[in-house]
Structures are given as structure tokens and as C-alpha cells.
């Protein structure tokens, strides 16, 4: 039934032939810190792969204000698309089928909007990424964890690899770990407590050993790294190992007759 929904969506938006979405079933995202409540995640659609250089090039060509030379410095930093040969030219450092990197959060969001999509929320992304090939949740699966950590054992200077070169998880999403970091809509929420006097305690989970004491899973070093990365970023930041993929809501009531 969800396949039908994709077909439907595909016709509604200007989705390129390259991006396919997969359905991620509902679940629960357990935050890194025990004092935060579990968050239910409704089923949603997620791009099968990270957005590629080629796809992002189509976007920049269609929406020229996101070209490297013209993008507003309010929305991108000096690393924006730094690995491309030119405004509309990928060159040798940016293979068409590799995930696009060096994109800011603003740029990633603009792309998603152009596609009629959005960025996944942190909870959605983490829930989708916690699936291995065979299981929706991998908490405590040390082999899975080790595989993720192995990615961090390679410096980013070894470059990106084509999409679909790591593994396809239970939901059908490729490369959730082991390829690039990915932007999420609320990337900074792990820092924002909403209580300004708690600011100094923001450092606590990020910098002190004591932070780990409150962690739900002290061995999930990979999760710590993702959270540290996200909280080091600003919405303008672009780095050589940070890309993104899009998400969409499932249509509320898929008309039965569209089957």
C-alpha cells in the first residue's frame, strides 16, 4: 500500500528519477540522555539514499540564488560546495553519484522545499538509522555498533563513496551510517533546553565525563559523536563529510481507490 503512496507522491512533485523514498515504520526514539522522555515517531517517507552531487546540481541550476558564488553568506559559510569545480560544474572532486557534502542546513532545507519534501527530524533520523539490515532496533547490538565506529576510524580525507555502497537497512534506506553525516531539521535541539539559565549545563553533557553518566547507553559512542557533531554546527556550516537526505509525511488518508 505504501508503494502506491510513493507513486502518488512522485507524480505530485518534481521528484527526479534518482530519488526514491522508502517507508520507515513507526517506532520510538530513545534520546541520548535518560532524563529526556522517549519520543514516538510516526511512520514517514525517507529518501533511499543521501542526496547526490548530481541531484544537488539540478537544484542549483534551477534555483540560481543557491549557486556557490551567489548564495547569501547569511545562509552558507566559505566551505559551501567547496569541492565543486564551479558554480554549475562538479569536477573531479565531486562525483555525480556521490553524496553531496559541503552543504549548509539552510541549503539542505531549500533543496528539500524545492522537492516538496523536508528534512527528517532528529528523532525520525535516529529511529530510521537505528535499523540494521534485519532488525528495526540495534540497541545493544555490538557488531552493528562496531561497524559504525569503523567508519570513524577512517579520516574524512579518504573521500566520499558512491551512494548505495555501504548497506541497506530493514526499511530499505541505504548508507545511514558509514557514508556521510546527515543534517536533520532540529540539529541543534540537543543543545536547546528552552531554559536560558540552564545554558551552563549545556556544556555538561557535551564536555564532561559526567555527561556520560546520564547517558541512556554509555557504549553508544557513535551516538555521542553524532550529537557532538550536530552541536558543533551552525546552520551555515558546511563540512566535507556532512550531507543530507529528504523526508516526507505519509499522506494522511491514501485514497483507497488509488490502489
Amino acid at each position: 500500500m505504501w508503494r502506491a503512496a510513493i507513486v502518488l507522491l512522485g507524480t505530485l512533485t518534481c521528484a527526479s528519477a534518482l530519488a526514491e523514498q522508502v517507508r520507515v515504520g513507526e517506532g520510538v526514539y530513545r534520546p541520548l540522555y535518560r532524563n529526556e522522555p522517549d519520543q514516538p515517531v510516526a511512520a514517514f517517507l525517507l529518501d533511499e539514499t543521501p542526496v547526490t552531487n548530481e541531484e544537488f546540481l539540478q537544484f542549483v541550476a534551477a534555483v540560481p540564488r543557491w549557486k556557490r558564488s551567489t548564495a547569501s553568506k547569511l545562509f552558507v559559510d566559505d566551505h559551501y560546495l567547496a569541492h565543486w569545480a564551479g558554480d554549475l560544474e562538479l569536477g573531479t572532486n565531486a562525483q555525480p553519484d556521490h553524496p553531496v557534502t559541503h552543504v549548509s542546513w539552510f541549503a539542505a532545507r531549500a533543496y528539500a522545499k524545492w522537492k516538496g519534501a523536508r528534512l527528517p527530524t532528529l528523532a525520525e533520523w535516529e529511529w530510521a538509522a537505528s535499523a540494521s539490515e534485519t532488525s528495526a532496533e540495534t540497541r545493544g547490538d555490538t557488531n552493528f555498533l562496531r561497524r559504525i565506529l569503523n567508519w570513524y576510524s577512517k579520516p574524512a580525507s579518504t573521500g566520499t563513496q558512491p551512494v548505495r555502497s555501504t548497506y541497506k537497512n530493514l526499511w530499505g534506506a541505504w548508507d545511514m551510517h558509514g557514508s556521510v553525516w546527515e543534517w536533520v531539521e532540529d540539529f541543534n535541539s540537543s543543545l536547546v533546553t528552552g531554559e536560558s539559565r540552564a545554558d551552563s549545563s549545556l556544556e555538561r553533557p557535551m564536555f564532561c565525563g559526567s555527561g556520560a553518566a546520564g547517558a541512556a547507553d554509555v557504549e553508544d559512542y557513535a551516538a555521542f559523536m553524532r550529537f557532538a557533531l550536530r552541536s558543533s554546527l551552525t546552520a551555515r556550516s558546511a563540512t566535507s563529510s556532512l550531507g543530507f537526505r529528504c523526508a516526507r509525511d505519509l499522506p494522511r488518508d491514501p485514497p483507497e481507490d488509488s490502489l
Partner: protein
């Protein structure tokens, strides 16, 4: 200068708050100060002592790089580094200086990093102010107000992993009037590595979280890798000189029992602080802590730096060498002057159960020689060449399946009698170490060489006591054996 790169109002507020305070103090008193760029040195080198007697504005630029490097011969590891080395560079400032610190996170890095300098009085030692995404630079200011030798390290979550991957170094805050002059200063930093593969397993090794949690390191090293302070990388001094070692411990877990075989520390600045203790054999260096030790080199020879939690030294790599050159000082150390039989009162030799009479080694069967040789090996050679003769990469050459040993067992005899020093290639790997003469009898030498010849895939054969005696009489020269000759 742009430290609040953030569009998160929250982060910006913290950063701006810190920055505003720092900027004020700089403009109040720092404006008139002379400005200098700090000299940063890689271990074992230490920047020159600070000669100025007034504060300066000291600018420090430190770049974080994630890179693959050598952990031991044939073993690689992805290090996260300050300044592309483990440990990070040695920083030297003076009490009361105004430090302007720029932390650069190299654009190709995957991870954010920061720095917590134990010399900083302020929240997180600068950790929050220096938290930096790849491709960015953070700037913060501080004034070191407590003299001493301090560790700095990355404190980004997961902290343990950032430290375990190599992110630490030392910063010396010299007291206003400086430290007493010495002839030589060196930078030595101990730390551990936790790898998926066991010690010595070749290839690119990945970080083992489980071993780190269990505090079960595979490698315990000085200055970032096995052999970084031994062989060609040894440090040097001359007899009569006073040496000061700035010793740090990056951990992440172990406390070091720092000891120099063959020396007594004349002075130890305990835990890197003001208090000086005298005449110390072994000093504790806590994880995330330091000590400054000083000693006068009295006699020539090789002093061996170890963590005296001794399996770490001989089995995991925590071993360094300080080679002291100069004239022997027989009053301080005479060398061996005599070897005589020790016979406690009331005991005479045939007291033991009667042993089968034999004409020295010749009468022993091969099996006997091997059995006796094995005992000698376990008592004498084992500590260095290891239980199965595999040695320790870059420190102790192997005797198992060793091309060099099989080529000429006579030469091996000469090394056992006279010792050996200098470059050596065994099974394709380079060594440049010192094997001291082993004080065992000719019969024991014949037995142990026979044992080694017939074990661990070596070529077989026998060594006789007569041949050992001939080699002893012939002296070290024919085999290039002996130590201290050059």
C-alpha cells in the same frame, strides 16, 4: 576574530559572554604587551626556556588533524591529533602571560573537537569556548595564573574516545622567575591505545571500545607509538649533564609508575607542581597529570625509561631510552669487577642429589641440552625476546624463525657473551637497540643456543661448550659484538 559562528542564539550567548570578558582584560592590560607567537615543539623536544621577566601576549595556533599513522612496526591507527602528532606539541608560556588561543579544526576532519587546558582557570578549561566544527577556527583568551606542568586534551563527547585516539599534550606555565637552568630538557608523554587486534597484529587497527571500557590496553607507549623514544629515536645526554624530563600522562585510563632504569631522580616536582621531592626511584604520574623529574647523568650507558608497572614496559611498549655518552665513572658505577662462585656456609657442591656424571656439555644428550637450555631461556632471555621468541616489534628482535639467528649461531653466542648494540635487520625489520652481556656460564650459553636452534621453526643443530669457550677467547671483534665501544 569570529568565535560565535553560531546561529543558535543560545550558543552565541555563551560564546559572546566568554569573549567579552576576555576582550576586556586584553584591552585593559594586554594592549601594551609585546606580542609573540608561541614556539611549539614536537616530542621529545621542548621549546627553549622563557627568558623575559615580564608578561607578553602569546599567540598560539594549534590545528586538529585526523590522520592515519604508525602505532608500531606494521601497525597503523587513525589518530586524532593536535598538531598532527601524538602527543600534541609542547606549549611553553609564562605565569601572567596573556594567551590568545586559536584552535583550527582542519576542513577534512570528520569530527568536531575542542581543547581543555588544565592550565586554564575557567569553565571547562576552554572546552566550551573552543568547541569547533570541521573547517572552523575558535579563538579564546586566557591568563595562566598558576605555574606548573599541565596536560591539555580534547574534551568533546565521547571524551574517552577523543583522548584514546591521541588528543593530549603538555603546557608548561613557567613561574615568573623561571625554572633553574639545566643542560637538557625533554618531553615524554605516556598513553595507552585500545585496538581491536592484539598487540602487534599488523594492518590498520580500529579503536576497541570494549577494551577501553575494561581498561585493558594493547599498547602502552611513550610519545605516541612503540619505539618513539627508543633506538634511533632515543634521547641523548653526556655524562655530568643534568637532564629534566617533562613527563605527562594522557591516559585515558592508566596511572604511570614512571621510572628510569639506572637512575635516581635527584628532584621530582611532584605532580608537576611547586613541591619538590628529592632522591626518588619511581614517581606516579596520574592520568591527566604530570611530573617534572631531574637527574644528573653520572655514568655512560643506556638509561631505560619505563612504566614500572612492568608488563607495560616489556610487553606493551612503555619503554624509552636515554643514551648517555662520556667517560666511565668507576667511582659511581664500577661495572662488573669479579664473578666468583657463591657458596653459602654449610653447603658444598655435591650436597645435591647425585647427578649423572658427565664431561660438561659434550656428554649431554641433545634432549638434555634442550631441556636445560629452555630453563636458561626462561630465566634469562624471556623478558626481552618473549615467551615464544617472537620479540617485540622495533624493540627486541625475534629469535623465532629468525633469519639473522639461523645465519650464524656463533654470532649469537658472541652477543650473549659480549652484548650487542647498533643497527640490525631481522626478518626484514630494523632494530637499533642495546642487548647487554648476559652473565651466564659457557655451558648455559651452549644449552640456550641449542634450545633456540631446535625450537620455533629454527634450523636445528647444536652448540658445544668448547665452541662457546673459543668464541669467548676470541673476543667481541670477529662478530662486531660488544657495547659501549663507540
Amino acid at each position: 576574530m569570529n568565535i560565535s559562528k553560531s546561529y543558535s542564539p543560545r550558543l552565541a550567548r555563551i560564546a559572546l559572554g566568554l569573549f567579552a570578558a576576555a576582550a576586556l582584560s586584553t584591552s585593559a592590560s594586554g594592549a601594551t604587551l609585546p606580542v609573540e607567537e608561541a614556539v611549539l615543539t614536537h616530542a621529545p623536544n621542548v621549546p627553549p626556556p622563557i627568558t623575559r621577566r615580564t608578561p607578553a601576549k602569546v599567540v598560539i595556533n594549534l590545528e586538529v588533524r585526523e590522520l592515519v599513522g604508525k602505532l608500531a612496526d606494521g601497525v597503523e591507527y587513525t589518530f586524532w591529533t593536535f598538531g598532527s602528532t601524538v602527543p600534541g606539541p609542547f606549549i611553553r608560556v609564562r605565569e601572567g602571560d596573556h594567551v590568545e588561543f586559536h584552535l583550527h579544526n582542519f576542513p577534512d576532519n570528520k569530527l568536531p573537537h575542542n581543547i581543555d587546558l588544565h592550565a586554564v582557570t575557567g569553565p571547562g578549561g576552554g572546552a566550551a569556548a573552543s568547541f569547533t566544527a570541521p573547517g572552523h577556527t575558535s579563538t579564546f583568551n586566557f591568563k595562566p595564573i598558576n605555574p606548573g606542568l599541565y596536560v591539555y586534551h580534547c574534551a568533546t563527547a565521547p571524551v574517552g574516545m577523543h583522548v584514546a585516539n591521541g588528543m593530549y599534550g603538555l603546557i608548561l606555565v613557567e613561574p615568573e622567575h623561571g625554572l633553574p637552568p639545566v643542560d637538557r630538557e625533554f618531553y615524554v608523554m605516556q598513553s595507552e591505545f585500545y585496538t581491536e587486534g592484539a598487540y602487534g597484529e599488523p594492518g590498520l587497527q580500529t579503536f576497541s571500545m570494549n577494551k577501553a571500557l575494561d581498561e585493558r590496553p594493547d599498547y602502552v607507549v611513550f610519545n605516541g607509538s612503540v619505539g618513539a623514544l627508543a633506538g634511533d629515536n632515543s634521547i641523548h645526554a653526556k655524562t655530568g649533564e643534568t637532564v629534566r624530563l617533562y613527563v605527562g600522562n594522557g591516559g585515558p585510563n592508566l596511572v604511570s609508575s614512571f621510572h628510569v632504569i639506572g637512575e635516581i631522580f635527584d628532584k621530582v616536582y611532584i605532580e608537576g607542581g611547586d613541591r619538590v621531592n628529592a632522591n626518588i626511584q619511581t614517581t606516579l604520574v596520574p592520568a591527566g597529570g604530570s611530573a617534572i623529574v631531574e637527574f644528573k647523568c653520572e655514568a655512560p650507558g643506556t638509561l631505560v625509561l619505563v612504566d614500572h608497572s612492568i608488563f607495560r614496559a616489556f610487553n606493551k611498549g612503555a619503554l624509552g631510552m636515554l643514551k648517555v655518552e662520556g667517560e666511565p665513572n668507576t667511582e659511581i658505577f664500577s661495572g662488573k669487577t669479579m664473578d666468583s662462585v657463591y657458596q653459602p656456609e654449610g653447603r658444598s657442591i655435591p650436597h645435591d642429589a647425585p647427578r649423572p656424571p658427565r664431561e660438561e656439555g659434550k656428554a649431554k644428550t641433545l634432549a638434555q641440552q634442550k631441556a636445560d637450555g629452555e630453563a636458561v631461556y626462561k630465566q634469562t632471555c624471556f623478558a626481552c625476546h618473549q615467551a615464544t621468541g617472537q620479540g617485540i616489534p622495533s624493540v627486541f628482535p625475534p629469535l623465532a624463525k629468525a633469519d639473522y639467528f639461523n645465519e650464524d649461531p656463533d654470532r649469537a653466542v658472541a652477543y650473549v657473551i659480549f652484548g650487542r648494540e647498533g643497527p640490525l635487520t631481522v626478518n626484514g625489520a630494523q632494530y637499533n637497540q642495546v642487548m647487554t652481556p648476559q652473565n651466564i656460564t659457557d655451558e648455559q650459553i651452549a644449552d640456550v643456543i641449542t634450545y633456540v636452534l631446535n625450537t620455533w621453526g629454527n634450523k636445528g643443530g647444536r652448540m658445544t661448550v668448547e665452541r662457546v669457550r673459543e668464541i669467548r677467547e676470541g673476543g667481541p671483534a670477529p662478530f662486531g659484538a660488544g657495547i659501549g665501544a663507540h
